[in-house]
Amino acid sequence: MDKRWLSFELHKRKILTLILSLAFIMSLFSVEWNSELIHSKGLETAKQIATAFFTPDLSGDILILAMESSWTTLSYAAAGMSLAIIIAFFYGILASGIVVSEGNIKRYIRPFFRGQLGFMRAIHELVWAWLFVASIGLSPYAAIFALAIPYGGILGRIFADMLEDISPEPIKALEAAGASKLQALWYGYLPLVRANITSYAMYRFECAVRSSAIMSFVGIGGLGYQIQLSLDDLHYDEVWTFVYFLIALVIVIDLWSNQLRKRLVQ
């Protein structure tokens, strides 16, 4: 037999595939598979929901309501993202440790700020929303802060990674010419990462719209709130109208960000 066939390196992918498949099969055993899984009228409800899918409620009131809540959703997302960008800018620079010189301070400052960013993004935005609603009440700020924190965490981490990954030559050239740390940051680091970070932030904005729609689940207005209200009234046709508005919103931003990213990152 060919000796190479026995090498471990060759089979790593197969081993991982096997482990993942086994994990999936094992997870299937955690559910008892019988007819008890579905509500007694579950299939009928499914049929009603499916029919409503093709006959969404397009009456004037609902459309106006849908447009208003689309704007609410979009404006919370935009406001949350603007705060997230501010958080990401300062945390990103500190977490990449580029403004301090090599040595003891850098060794502590990086893990300190990276840890904070990790904590911000580890908790889902809806959990943040819940914590905020419980402490400051039902206000748009609960939604905005809840979006800003996890998105700031993600953007900040990516920003820090980008700042660390850029090629050192332009920075060395600036420093050799006598630039201070701050000048190196402004004229060296930031212009180099500008296109990439803008494109990533745009992609995150699309996710933020989706998240902002579900913020309403904790009682903050927007498309998700309307979806939930209609579901509670068993008006499946209205549900689909609002869902279509949400999809349209997401697709428009998706197309926009795709066009923008294509031009930014060549």
Partner: protein, 278 residues
């Protein structure tokens, strides 16, 4: 006079800035949300009460002091883990079954050298399905699905899978589009069928990136399990919501602790697994 041409990028940046300013204005003026009202004494009192509750100060028997609660939370953590794995599995299987017609180079026949009349039709349909399923958030899927299934792990897994099916499908299709087409054409010209093409031509070349994406989505799914739990889809999220409704704040601290541990563990495992296959 110099002609000033507005490029798409600059126009977009201006539009985004305008959108952000407009959003803040609408929040301030239309909804009359005031920042100063946030920091009233009443809110301060509620906030401090809430955080004291979370920490279990002034509580007679905080939940995290009882071994029973720990055991219960551990069971829920295991359930949540199973839910995330199941969701990833469902999404991956569904994406694998649909991904071949969704690749642009399969639709126009440049990958397989076989051009079928329905190439673009099935491309459009599958891609449309991907867009639809990923544009709807997991929570909305869960809200709808909970009307059909009884609360438990399965509806949560299905809701998560529906959302991630669209994302994984799109990512997989892009991987196939970036493939080197020569080995596949070679197979195709020697008479391999569709299934054989996928198994021997596409999969070996694309598997590492497929695995990377699956692991990456698993991380995200793990973070979202708690959210679908809120509407009754089982796991830590369901208990989280129940404890919140009963004002059992110390329970929440315990659940949040397990949730964070789970998320960090998933991040760690998936990072190590990705390095392992590199």
């Amino acid at each position: 006079m110099k002609k000033y041409k507005l490029s798409f990028v600059t126009a977009s940046v201006y539009a985004l800035l305008l959108l952000m300013v407009g959003s803040w204005v609408s929040i301030f003026i239309v909804e009359k949300a005031s920042l100063t009202l946030l920091f009233t004494e009443k809110n301060l009192f509620y906030a401090s009460k809430f955080f004291k509750g979370l920490l279990g100060i002034d509580e007679e028997s905080p939940a995290y002091l009882h071994a029973e609660n720990w055991k219960n939370a551990l069971n829920l953590t295991f359930e949540t883990l199973m839910m995330s794995v199941m969701a990833t599995g469902f999404a991956t299987i569904a994406a694998f079954l649909t991904v071949v017609p969704a690749a642009r180079n399969v639709a126009d026949g440049s990958l397989t050298l076989v051009k079928k009349w329905h190439g673009w039709l099935s491309f459009g349909m599958v891609r449309g399905g991907y867009i639809f399923s990923r544009a709807v958030p997991e929570l909305v899927w869960a809200m709808i699905i909970i009307f059909i299934f009884k609360p438990g792990v399965l509806p949560g897994a299905i809701a998560l899978a529906l959302h991630n099916f669209g994302i994984l499908g799109k990512l997989f299709a892009e991987v196939i589009e970036d493939l080197d087409s020569r080995p596949v054409r070679n197979l195709s010209s020697s008479g391999a069928g569709r299934f054989q093409l996928f198994l021997y031509g596409v999969l070996p070349a694309a598997l590492p990136r497929f695995l990377t994406y699956i692991l990456y989505r698993w991380e995200v799914i793990m973070r979202t399990t708690i959210v679908v739990g809120f509407v009754g889809a089982g796991g830590l999220g369901q208990q989280f919501k129940l404890s919140m409704s009963f004002f059992h704040y110390t329970d929440i601290t315990l659940l949040l602790f397990f949730y964070l541990a789970l998320v960090f563990a998933a991040d760690y495992i998936s990072e190590k697994a990705r390095i392992f296959i590199k």
